[in-house]
Symmetry: none
């Protein structure tokens, strides 16, 4: 019997309020000789501590599979309860979401970057000397102004171009009957010409159509870049369409709202059909808005970026501070305590690694029925001792639903 | 998406050195009234303790599935990262490996044992009164001298006979177009005649050919044994060919060496394509050889048998001593510390059970990125508190690869 089907059959609407607070990249590792302590352990978190003592179940979560370090896409899909091995989101789509592009069903998105070509069309620098962001913005504006669509009449494909940082940008192809994935045009090393974006499935007419649209796009763009000293070519990678993902509302019987500041997380939430709430620019504002929207939704995804940022910088103190800032804001959320509150990360971003990692992130569930693990704090080492054990992140939302009494008994 | 495929796609060669030290049957159980302590807890392990304090992640591993007690074959396949439910190795193959037979692709191996038949060919003792090993060796030499092959010209099948302990031996059939599995010739109780080795898939010509070869083998052997007082018949079980297993080198992008003393473990390592390093007869010698071969391989499987032996004998003191002997030798290995070191068992062999068991074995991973679980020792009870939780043994090597930074990020 399919497990998702079982969950779905057992689901009861209860009107309970569920809140998932994601401290991005929360988990860390203790290193002997570096104090053997993590930022979460070092942080003063009186409000979180009170919540733990009030009764929490703790554990750790494997974001994708043992040893696998997830990107933000798979990390969040798992938190939203979608197996990231089953629901893959292409890099182009993630980048487009990250730049705030409102993707529509059927859109094909590609990561793009400017590159340098010699007179023979051979790539001499795959990153166009890392041109300044301003130059990238100018060039994208130029291209966007001149090229709005490709394809012939009746089979037109709209083209959307958005600049990113330095040499990076994204291109979205929008029209009837488009589909990814296509192969990259990046030969992955200098000394070769730009490749063709070819269908990965050569029996797919939609992939073929997309391939033709991209070839035509190249024909239009390259002459416009011809005079550029560095950025006279471009490469496309991660060419894929927005995948079909069953909607959050249907899957969990929950009206979900996204309270995120950064575009990528809004985009990921939108991908599963959450309502994006715009406006808040800080965690306090996000929590205030949660209070204001309390009656309008059943599930709140609240995303906090700064723990991850500090981890990526390898900045222990900044990560500790980010956690303390979260703790300081927490009482706002607790003014209207959700029936089920989960606090976790989408993955670990340990300072010693300066990047995402595979280490299971700590997780806490607080509800009237979570029970208490009799721990005094929420930490990595403490979470090792919790009643939830180490489990796959995709089950978190199911545990939240269970704590909300949203599941009927299975069998008699 | 297939998980093995994902791991494989993400794999990066790093040149890191990984070492897996298997203390066979390491795990044990504490019994109230018997001091409530395990040999690992009782042992004095100053070197291991120092390693733990330097920073280790600990946990416990389920060798096959909850409640399943593995033999050495499945236990080691899991440690090598192959799902033992997917990759089955016949008992004949395992026994042949254990007796040091160098199996070739396509070989069909069978566990054999002498039995006693009455004048009507009815089995009166399935173990031939457990004849002494010397008698078994003499009989095997006799048979091996007289029967080198069966089958007709152009379709000959070579026969290899190797004695084991007491009434046990193995027979290997080598030739073109052979295949297992075949049914056992052992009726599993006295009072019945010897059965026929029949194809399990009666549409397989290769199994049919093997069945005919075995029938002919019986016709040649039985007359030679006719005068024996006890060992005048024999039974064949676990008749199977060496399975196709994807090579370790290809699967993990690691050049692997096996440093084992006992033939079975060498054989199991060889089955996945590891290079057998011959010579060392003790753990100190194995570790010395590891130092000498450090530059030639990326992965070292180092097998230590005596913990299991002591467990099988129910000898707590011997098991404690075996662990202390390991600890005494450990500094040799640490002279060239591998980038990732894992220490574990292939299963538990608790003294109170005097045999293999299903209890998850403790495991430790030490690397620059393992983090520290802040435990002071490596023990069963301590491992329960570790950050790795209880996980399937087949993922150990994936965690080792992650610790070696051998995986790219999954998704953006």
């Amino acid at each position: 019997m399919n497990l998702d089907h079982v969950y779905s059959q057992l689901t009861i609407k209860t009107g309970a309020k569920l809140a998932l607070v994601v401290l991005d990249g929360l988990g860390d590792i203790a290193i002997a000789g570096q104090g053997e302590i993590t930022p979460l352990e070092a942080a003063k978190t009186p409000n979180l501590d009170r919540l733990v003592v009030a009764g929490c179940a703790q554990g750790r979560m494997t974001p994708v599979a043992p040893g696998i370090t997830p990107g933000s896409g798979p990390g969040h899909l798992a938190l939203f309860g979608y197996d990231p091995l089953e629901y893959e989101v292409g890099r182009g789509v993630i980048e487009a979401l990250g730049l705030g592009v409102e993707l529509k069903a059927g859109d094909v998105a590609a990561r793009a970057n400017f590159c340098t070509l010699d007179s023979q069309g051979i790539i001499t620098d795959r990153r166009a000397g890392r041109i300044p962001t301003e130059v990238c913005e100018e060039l994208c504006a130029l291209l966007a102004g001149k090229i709005r669509r490709v394809g012939s009449k009746g089979a037109e494909v709209e083209v959307i171009i958005k600049p990113g940082k330095e040499h990076r940008f994204v291109v979205i192809f929008r029209g009837e009957g488009l589909e990814g994935p296509l192969t990259s045009t990046d030969p992955n090393r200098e000394g070769l010409p730009i490749g063709n974006a070819q269908p990965e499935d050569d029996k797919s007419p939609a992939q073929k159509k997309t391939s033709r649209a991209i070839a035509e796009f190249y024909k239009k763009v390259l002459p416009l870049l011809a005079g550029q000293p560095k950025a006279n070519g471009f490469l496309l990678r991660g060419i894929a369409h927005q995948p079909h993902i069953p909607s959050f509302a249907e899957r969990y019987q929950l009206r979900a709202a996204c309270l995120a500041v950064y575009p990528m997380y809004k985009g990921l939430a939108q991908l599963v059909g959450m309502t994006k709430i715009e406006g808040p620019q800080s965690l306090s504002e996000q929590f205030e808005r949660y209070l204001a929207e309390y009656d309008n939704f059943d599930f709140f995804f609240i995303h906090y970026k700064y723990t991850d940022k500090a981890g990526e910088d390898g900045n222990f103190e900044a990560k500790r501070k980010a956690i303390e800032d979260f703790d300081a804001a927490l009482p706002i959320l607790l003014r209207k305590r959700p029936d089920v509150l989960a606090i976790t990360g989408d993955h670990s971003t340990p300072c010693p690694l300066r990047g995402h990692s595979w280490h299971p992130q700590p997780v806490l569930i607080h509800s009237k029925f979570s029970g208490s693990d009799k721990l005094e704090r929420f930490t990595e080492t403490g979470a090792n001792l919790g009643s939830l054990g180490v489990f796959d992140a995709k089950y978190l939302i199911r545990l939240m639903q269970a704590n909300a009494r949203m599941f009927d008994k299975f069998g008699a």
